[in-house]
Symmetry: C2
Subunit: 137 residues, 2 copies
């Protein structure tokens, strides 16, 4: 079986990028936490995402490996410049999607939930269209 001969497979992009989504959610949360409390600890993320601190710990290992965060044993979680960049663009996209859903007429509560899921799948072109729609309100 040769699975990858097929070229412009749109499914290929849809699949696979769960790791990126997770990274985006985490760096966004880390940036928030640092902004709100001055520092981000693993417990904060564990509480926010409703996962165990062990899961957070290992996720931090991957994010560190991928160059988004830095940590030292028993120390707080910091963002690298790349992490800050990712947090910023992710956050901005998130906000636009959220505003867009509100502008569409969706309730605040639903917009909160849906924007979380949708933001990771919005291409620059779609984001621009959403932004234009919000601006035209």
């Amino acid at each position: 079986m040769t699975p990858t001969k097929k070229q412009p497979n749109r499914h290929t992009r849809v699949r696979s990028d769960h790791a990126r989504e997770l990274a985006e959610d985490y760096v966004e949360a880390i940036a928030d936490q640092i902004a709100a409390a001055g520092a981000c600890r693993a417990v904060d993320l564990a509480a926010l995402f409703s996962v165990s601190h062990v899961t957070v710990n290992r996720t931090m290992g991957r994010l560190q490996r991928d160059g988004f965060v830095t940590t030292e044993p028993y120390g707080p979680i910091e963002l690298t410049p790349a992490g800050r960049r990712l947090a910023k663009t992710s956050r901005r996209r998130h906000e636009i999607v959220h505003q867009f859903l509100i502008a569409l007429g969706v309730s605040e509560a639903v917009a909160d939930v849906d924007s979380e899921g949708i933001e990771h799948h919005v291409s620059p072109e779609t984001l621009a269209a959403m932004k234009a729609f919000v601006a035209a309100q």
Copy 2:
């Protein structure tokens, strides 16, 4: 998370449901394939999703366990009534999201890709708003 309040765990929903997304993608593809070719074989799905036939095979095992498909060794893949229902609602949602993106002014190519990712995160309320927007065009 600027656009939101700290509800206990909107993240919980966002997370975790990758299995459901995969199931939706698969049953949709299976329904398509059956409609197009009269039957769906594992190779068809492997080619479509650009994965190996082994991955398809095991995914079918899970979908069978979860009651969405039936298969017999070396036989074609069939949908259960639950699988057909899921395929139908998934397909419908997918189409609405796609039409909506087009109506928003997004190009066909980008709408194809983005609707694939977005469809799984659209709640009924948001879907209704999208549908209304398309209808109001």
